[in-house]
Symmetry: D2
């Protein structure tokens, strides 16, 4: 099977033209409906502006075409819910690419196998300084940090489970929306979580940082050193040799590493997309479903948590989150996943 | 002037006896009042159990004797307030020793000189695992993490100013009191702060971690590598060479370093006490006041913030903190500091 | 211009067939001469086994075809010298890809601009453990560490200049060739350098580490955190704020970064090849020459230094290196570089 | 038993007077023989200038008085040999204090128990910049780096065993003696070692760095983060979780830690002297001998290795080291250690 990029959507042909030429894409279109409906489009990669995540995805799904939609699935839980329904029986994923960071996939595997025990504390940070460094980049109608950094919410759910309640505050310096948020969560098993994002954290360019403390072990990871998992196993203290292990996640038997370079030759951020797309195309063509792939139910749940963060911040009080109707993300594959979707072999 | 350790208080002479012998202290006493009243006691170092912080300190102050009282000053804001009043005209300090970590004193100096600009974000962590590692160490009537780790509150005030409001959650696994807390604060200038402490954070032995993001620069510090300040100055990005500087704070012109080893020979945690006591004894003997020394007003304010954290956690909503009646800690020395207290020259 | 992969050479069609299919390469060949001579081959990427570096490259150059040959250019200085002569007037480069690590390219730029001053010390390490971990991987007729890790020699020349003399030792555990070497060099300006490589350094997977101490500043880099340059400028000590800056080399104005992701989104090892090939193809098509591209003269000089290391180790004494006939690598582009080579526009 | 500091030697009473007063030392002397012979001096701490290490130590030993002599024992192997003979039957130690760094003592314990397997590679660095930063500090008749940084030689012997041969180079910028040296060693079991010291390595204040690669594991340590041992155990790779463990060596059962602060509260450089003196005084008073204490035989061997480094550098060839007459340092305690020396109980 060969996958070809057949059409590229964009409102401004002066911009899409050169890109399409460079990537060898035959046609550009300025009408997103036309893209969804084109007969030579079997799969839609929806990386359009946030406002089109819903409409374009729904249009494709109505025609039975699989979609990998960038996050956030929608900023409107109602729309996200409709997207979920429309995706029944059709392969559809949300672009939560950090699930495919090998170090984080290894961490998830360890947590699922119980090697960290019960989760006591979770901390997620996503700090950048681009807005503080250049306030002109604030746009009047831009989105806020809760949805821009919804990776934080998704990874919390993937690694620590569905939060039960939230309290939060947001701050604004240069935008009309929030430029930073902090949120505290209670986890179902008695653990706690905190998330923080900012686009005014001077000096940090991409400090996506995750830390988990479990009853049997702890771990942390930082995007700036993306191939490294720092893992502590409490059992190592028994012989006086406890300490965070500096694991370079480049071994062939580490997640998503088998096809790549020899051990010790590090991967970059873009490999998260490569692995995510490989998983999604495999799902479309062969019918399996890598549990790391975020479903639309995951996207909906993220939108619900994002909404709860804003409500909690506005009200200045704790907001209870409804129990998830779906199982915790990543714990087991969706039952109703279609065996396969029809694709022409080109 | 020679300072002599003349008496050691402790309820159990079987324990205090050997310690006194090892340290060359002439007498042990089992009655804390007798200690305060002893004619050969001119200065009281109150490192007794938390419940005696108030009574012993008040007894000494009533006799006009200077006291350096361990933190927390009191867990009862009312008592803390009485201690403040009793300290009028008498040198009295709270044992917030982290102010004397050279790296943190350097950070404070940089903040006060405006080199980090306006504070946008502050993060303080104090993570340990001793209780998770050995739940038998929980005591029925022990104190909780908010007061046990009140260093977090104090350093927030010292470095980022008085918080304006707080929301918080606490968690409990093995104790009757809280075993972990997280709190979010709004800072007066529009900044935000978060504090977190736990005694069940597997693998961390003494992760006291502080991070500050200002409009012109950022910095972080970690107790496990106590001599290091990681400092970022936004101006360094102008030539493409921005990055956190890994400053080994052991130069002779760094704070509190002049009397010590040659550059590059690191200090340990105990030096924070050495520097604090030197500052306090200098205050008693010579009448000055190192602005790093925590006053009883600082101790009171810490107790008030700790109380607000508990109220916010219990109510599940934001609690507004009253404007401090004292100036922000560390910004200027107290006006009414006594010129000196009478000490015999031994 | 579109570059197409037209033929893939390999002795075993059962292996090359599937690879060619996956990469969309039309034909496989088992005769390397046929590859060089094929009319639809305009440029040769010589990543064949070390023993074919010379023969295949010479065959292509004789037909006037540009070659990018993997390192080592040749293990025989005589052959390397013939390859240099054959490359006159034809774009020809050696695959020293570490020159294209953005962090190292930034370091080179800083050194060339004099920001580190005179080089006092240089240290290069390349530590791996694959042979110690699995001694069965030793092959009877395999090459030794001096040529396998010739990147060390090349980067020394690029960053610190041509060494003047060398002393060395080699060690062997599992192979017939050396499994580790250490070498000490005198640099022309009075500085010193040391290189060490091992395939039995337990626990290290790809510790390619470079450190430079100059009179005005120092820097270090490590492949395991490939995007980071640790840079110290002595001038920063003047205000008590000296320390290694932790520079995340992902800014658009950092070397080779302009076409890639937003700041803070890290690159992997493979990008060094992408940048090297872009530079080489640009040289072939447009006639320029990125000074980071290693010439065959560089490859020859590396072979000479490698030979001197072995002679010094065998003799147990210092070996003087002849002054380079070419200018120090990377200091200025070769004068006689051809304006362009003829390429059909496909 | 109480140890009192009774006399302080120094040529200039204007300098020694205030120091003696501050430390409560009763008398100062300007004649080192008088110090050795004074009836109230039972033990000599010889931290005098290097040139007096021999004479003062010999004078004390002739009177049967125990001596802890600062390193280097002597720069003259002949004198060092006489000092060894004079020390027969008298407790005598050399001030190699790095053996008492808890992290290095833990490493030594692991190596002795075989947990790192056979030593393959050893690397020792001691980099400083004080001379490069201020060339006026060069003194015409000062000592060179080989003896100034003889800690490097001692720790090599302690951790990796007696070297069998050496090649070396030295460099000079501002002094009459060497300002930097690099040396390569062959180890008896087939391993290799390298040592390097410089006082012109810009930016490094106290980079004493040690790394060991064994067949079963590896470790590294750095003085700037003195409490940390980075330890890798090859067995951890079996489950895909291999990586350097970041061990904070502050547990009560770590070497020399029992008497100190709670876990996680770091120690400084001065504790190495505290532990060394405790061990030496215990040896004098109780007759045991902590194997970490360096004997005069160790001091002699260090001088021999230092001499060989200089000879190798001058000759530009490998110099073979005579097999040590004593067992490898630290592998077993000296057999002939006296049971006790007579000390009055004050």
């Amino acid at each position: 099977v060969t996958i070809r990029l057949t059409r590229l959507y964009g409102r401004n042909p002066a911009k899409t033209g050169p890109v399409a030429a460079e990537l060898g894409i035959g046609q550009t279109v300025t009408d997103w409906r036309a893209l969804a409906e084109a007969p030579d489009v079997d799969i839609v990669a929806n990386a359009a502006t946030n406002a089109l995540h819903g409409p374009l995805t729904l249009a494709a799904l109505e025609l039975g075409k699989p979609v990998l939609c960038e996050k956030p699935l929608s900023m409107d839980p109602g729309e996200a819910s409709r997207m979920c329904s429309a995706a029944a029986g059709i392969p559809a994923a949300v672009g939560f690419n950090y699930r495919f960071v090998p170090a984080l996939a290894l961490l998830r595997r360890l947590i699922q196998r119980g090697q960290l025990g019960q989760i006591r504390h979770y901390r997620g940070l996503y700090l950048q300084d681009w807005l503080g460094a250049d306030p002109r980049r604030a746009k009047a109608n831009g989105s806020g940090t809760v949805s821009d950094y919804s990776h934080l919410i998704d990874m919390l759910r993937v690694l620590a489970g569905e939060p039960a309640s939230v309290m939060a505050q947001t701050t604004r310096w240069h935008s009309e929306a929030d430029d930073a948020f902090q949120a505290l969560f209670a986890l179902p098993g008695g653990g706690t979580a905190s998330l923080e994002a900012s686009r005014c954290a001077t000096g940090w360019k991409g400090r996506h940082h995750i830390e988990v403390n479990g009853s049997l072990g702890s771990a942390w990871w930082d995007m700036e050193d993306i191939n490294r998992l720092h893992l502590l196993l409490a059992r190592d203290f028994a012989e006086g040799l406890g300490g965070y292990r500096d694991i370079l996640v480049t071994e062939a038997d580490h997640p998503y590493l088998a096809p790549w370079w020899p051990t010790g030759h590090v991967l970059g951020w873009e490999h998260t997309f490569t692995a995510m797309w490989r998983a999604f195309l495999t799902a479309v063509l062969d019918g399996g479903w890598d549990p790391a792939l975020a479903t639309f139910a995951d996207g909906l749940r993220s939108a619900e948590v994002a909404g709860a963060i804003y409500r909690a911040a506005a009200a200045g009080r704790t907001v209870t989150l409804p129990a998830g109707t779906s199982p915790p993300a990543g714990r087991k594959p969706d039952a109703g996943r279609p065996a396969a979707s029809v694709m022409e072999d080109k």
